[in-house]
């Protein structure tokens, strides 16, 4: 019978190979699967392509993964951060690639990847340097550019409650990119504050249906990145 629970964060990310493309949920620290990222640092996979809106905070979570030299390329909308020098230093040193994508286009490309839409048109970036190299098209009198769906090998996701079948609900603005990333990855790995009985989540309130989820691991008291940063924590 279907039971997607995994005992440890280490076991949940054990098979991620070098060169994998990984979507990482979260917007800033909200909804960031920090324990899963730390487990990936411990695991050591290299040459990764990471998709996240930002590039992490301080020297924990995604910033620490980048700092550990495990990331070959970042796809994000906003690589600046007030608490992190990790990405800028590597970027200026030519040690990490950057694909800059407007936030809404990033979200839609992920959503499209999950929805079997290989490409779509959008007005975002028209007339700007970010439209360079993109196919343009006039539709009903307005200019658009062509954008392609994004998929990933893995998604690292944080949620509030999950059941053993993999249904998920989120907390407030920690929802952000997590639900769409669940749909766009071959293997979706979820850390949740609580695992509840199957049937305990109201079918009307489930945000991520279990079809999108492969592994669920309970992290009852996740770290809060801003608190770690305030304490000057560096991972590992």
């Amino acid at each position: 019978m279907i039971d997607k629970r995994i005992k440890t964060v280490a076991a949940s990310v054990a098979d991620i190979p070098n060169g994998a493309t990984i979507m990482v949920g979260g917007f800033g620290e909200a909804g960031s699967p920090t324990e899963l990222i730390h487990a990936l640092i411990d695991q050591g996979a290299k040459d990764l392509t990471v998709i996240n809106n930002n590039t992490g905070n301080g020297e924990v979570g995604l910033a620490a993964l980048i700092g550990a030299g495990q990331v070959r390329k970042m796809i994000c909308s906003y690589p600046r951060s007030s608490h992190s020098k990790v990405f800028p230093e590597l970027y200026r040193a030519g040690k990490i690639e950057l694909e800059i994508v407007p936030q809404g286009t990033l979200a839609e490309r992920i959503r499209a990847g999950g929805a079997g839409i290989p490409a779509f048109y959008t007005a975002t970036t028209v007339g700007t340097p970010l439209a360079k190299g993109k196919e343009a098209r006039l539709i009903k009198g307005r200019d658009y550019v062509l954008e392609y769906g994004l998929t990933a090998d893995y998604a690292l996701i944080k949620c509030e409650k999950a059941d053993a079948k993999g249904n998920l609900i989120y907390n407030k603005t920690a929802r952000n990119f997590n639900p769409i990333m669940c749909t766009a990855a071959t293997v979706t790995i979820v850390q949740t504050r609580e695992i509840v009985e199957v049937g305990a989540l109201d079918p009307e309130h489930i945000v991520t249906p279990n079809i999108y989820v492969d592994r669920v691991v309970e992290v009852a008291q996740p770290v809060i990145e801003s608190q770690l940063i305030a304490k000057g924590v560096q991972y590992p």
Partner: protein
């Protein structure tokens, strides 16, 4: 001491006066955030933040911050009654789909054609970081810009053609500066209102593009001319 020009708060107040009751509003980081303090009596605006909240309220009282309830600037906020949470895909459906009525943004440069440049100086060592700005200017019905008229070194932010990389082309409707409110019209920058103690000539001198005087024909005369 006689007042000269508008303060940041007064600029924000001028913007708030021009937003109709019931509008759905997205506010950029910085001066635009001050708009919430000046909602005119009897009007209600509903605030959207890109990271998945419609019905955003003010910052919580200190100590009540929730790291999972933040705005697009990653600052702690609250949720008003009637608010809703949703994911980033759905959030940008609101933006790109033309459902947000007004977006108020800061800027680095703005051209007489309504081109906006507010995300990069284009300097060779700059790390590009665009966030949601390009989506907002492409999708929101009305884009208002709120900004000091010039840089700290006195260089006009209002220009004939932007030298910085664009955020969007022909997207801005109106600019609110410390010196004036200026409409973007087919014919270029058109003065709408001067700040107290500011002369038309002074605004012209600080604007690096032609500035047209306000259209002074009363509405009735306009009607007659039709």
């Amino acid at each position: 001491m006689s007042m000269k020009g508008w303060s940041r708060e007064q600029m924000a107040e001028q913007v708030a006066l021009d937003i109709p009751d019931g509008s759905y509003v997205n506010l950029g980081i910085g001066i635009p955030e001050l708009v919430t303090k000046f909602v005119p009596e009897g009007r209600e605006f509903i605030y959207h933040t890109e990271n998945g909240l419609l019905g955003m309220g003010p910052a919580p009282t200190p100590g009540q911050e929730d790291p999972e309830l933040i705005n697009a600037g990653k600052k702690a906020v609250t949720a008003e009654p009637g608010a809703s949470y949703f994911h980033h895909g759905d959030s940008f459906t609101m933006i790109r789909g033309g459902h947000i009525d007004v977006c108020v943004l800061g800027t680095m440069q703005i051209s007489q054609h309504g081109d906006l440049a507010n995300w990069s100086t284009g300097a060779p060592d700059a790390i590009p970081a665009v966030g949601g700005a390009m989506d907002l200017v492409a999708g929101v019905k009305t884009i208002f810009v709120i900004s000091q008229h010039t840089t700290k070194t006195g260089i006009s932010k209002l220009v004939s053609t932007c030298s910085y990389p664009l955020t969007g082309k022909a997207v801005v409707s109106r600019i609110y500066t410390d010196l004036a409110i200026i409409d973007i019209k087919a014919e270029g920058f058109r003065l709408r209102e001067l700040a107290p103690g500011i002369s038309f000539d002074e605004v012209c001198a600080k604007t690096d593009a032609p500035l047209l005087p306000p259209l002074l024909l009363p509405p009735i005369a306009n009607e007659k001319r039709e």
